[in-house]
Symmetry: C2
Subunit: 308 residues, 2 copies
């Protein structure tokens, strides 16, 4: 009977590994499908998405595709870490039913020329540093959503702008799937899990922990200001993160920004959740991280960003 398990995802066992689009479209074992799109080199962050999908859906599909469209010409596409065997082992352990592993010619056959853009959102924050990045993300996800046909798609809060932009794209183009954003998973010292952490040497790795430390310090300061003054100033939080990170010689800060978490628009008096996000280089490695600071009483005192 054991030969059956490989064919029936709902009976556990080895995930089906699907290389082409026809196979992926044909994989319809029935029941709600949860989908976790990744670039591969899985870490605990990805696994938390897979576990959540496993809890909520009858079928779990993981895609591994190092999408060239979302890397700029000066970026680390060729260096990006890969370990397909380990990825498959982790997928099996996480109870994944199907792993979709297309190659670039399957995803972008000759003549491919469609581009999905999310105007406004694509130009902010990461978009300013990485022109074309979000068009690459939106385009590949629109394609994957149509090929995989999930009921729910799972992504991490670490890529906060990606989450906002993909939610917008899915609503605008009418994709019926629900986007589920899961909390950032962190190392013991707070560093956000990322495949790119593999680039860091020992000294850089230690220095990188200053990034979450600074963000957490700002969040703590916001909590304190709310208790003491009834509110907090988003601009002051941003300045606090900057100050903390300027003091770390191995961390080269690129930006710190405080934005309305749902829209990435400016923080105003009615803003309930402030996204405090930053990007920095540690050695040659570019890292991003963020925290969301909730306003307990939006509209109350303390927010005087544009004030005197």
């Amino acid at each position: 009977m054991s030969g059956v398990t490989g064919d029936n995802p709902l009976m556990g066992g080895e995930p089906r590994v699907l290389y082409d689009i026809g196979q992926m479209r044909g994989f319809r074992p029935g029941g709600p499908v949860g989908f976790v799109p990744t670039l591969g080199y899985l870490h605990e962050g990805h696994l938390s998405l897979l576990r959540r999908a496993r809890e909520e859906c009858r079928v779990v599909v993981l895609s591994i595709f190092l999408n060239p469209l979302q890397f700029g010409p000066e970026e680390d596409l060729d260096l990006y870490p890969r370990d397909p065997e380990r990825d498959l082992r982790l997928a099996r352990e996480a109870g994944v039913d199907a792993v979709f592993v297309p190659d670039a010619s399957e995803m972008y056959p000759e003549g491919f020329s469609t581009e999905v853009r999310v105007r406004g959102l694509e130009d902010l924050l990461e978009g300013r540093s990485r022109p074309g990045h979000f068009a690459g993300v939106a385009t590949v996800l629109a394609r994957l959503l149509n090929i995989v046909g999930p009921d729910r798609m799972y992504m991490g809060q670490k890529d906060a702008q990606q989450a906002v932009l993909v939610r917008r794209m899915m609503a605008d183009l009418g994709f019926p799937a629900r986007l589920v954003i899961c909390p950032t998973v962190r190392e013991e010292d707070g560093l956000a899990m990322s495949s790119r952490n593999a680039y860091l040497d020992e000294e850089e790795r230690a220095a990188a922990a200053a990034i979450p430390r600074a963000l957490f310090a700002a969040r703590d300061a916001a909590r304190r200001a709310e208790r003491e003054t009834g509110g907090f100033d988003a601009g002051a939080l941003r300045a606090l993160v900057e100050r903390e990170l300027r003091g770390e010689p191995l961390v080269e800060l690129e930006y710190v920004s405080a934005d309305e978490a749902g829209s990435l628009g400016p923080v105003g008096p009615e803003t309930r959740e402030v996204l405090l996000s930053c990007a920095a280089r540690v050695g040659k490695t570019r890292l991003i991280d963020n925290v969301v600071v909730e306003r307990l009483r939006p509209g109350a005192g303390g927010e005087r960003k544009d004030g005197p």
Copy 2:
């Protein structure tokens, strides 16, 4: 029992008229869905699409949405002819099961910011005359495809570039629906059916027939050249159309182009189907039309476009 027919599209009777996206998504009576997207003001061309859908699909959905995204600021959005009551009557007569009639705020709610582009194709021919037009077409159709969820979508060959571009977009973004392109339907004197024909006064209407006459003359000349010389020259066909139309004082030619029909790329020795397309103003009305000229023996003599 007659009250039932309105609820069950498969029993005939009045089409369901659906105004919001939730209703449209909820309309799933079962069986293959054929979808005809239109701007409204239906004519015999649209009806031919509906009839084809009716023959091939269990469920037929018509959308009527005068999509502002595909009209330029100088174009005829506000003047575009409308007759919703007549459209509904024609839809009923054509056996349509559901008519989706969203308004602009339903299709483009506040914050809408996604754009689907088909690079290369969007800039040629009509795209050169109508910047932004095809982004508007691709965006609305990606959204409609996700909302309606058809198995087949039907469009007319009159909008030849649109057909090529939408086919590309659907393949690139992985939409599972099949695109069915139906022949151009013409008036008795050859003029291609178009809602915009309603703009023409009597004299203009007579002059407009010169457009199909010129295209047909070129097609006939190609047939003759193939019989006599074994091939035809695409550039010569283009010149023939130009010459014919320059002689018609009320027709102000915008372009005539000869392109590979499947890709809109340049005609080469191996091209099997040549799309001969043109745009012209007759009075204030902009009209387009095309014919596809098949090469009986691609690679044979006659094609010396870039030759001496």
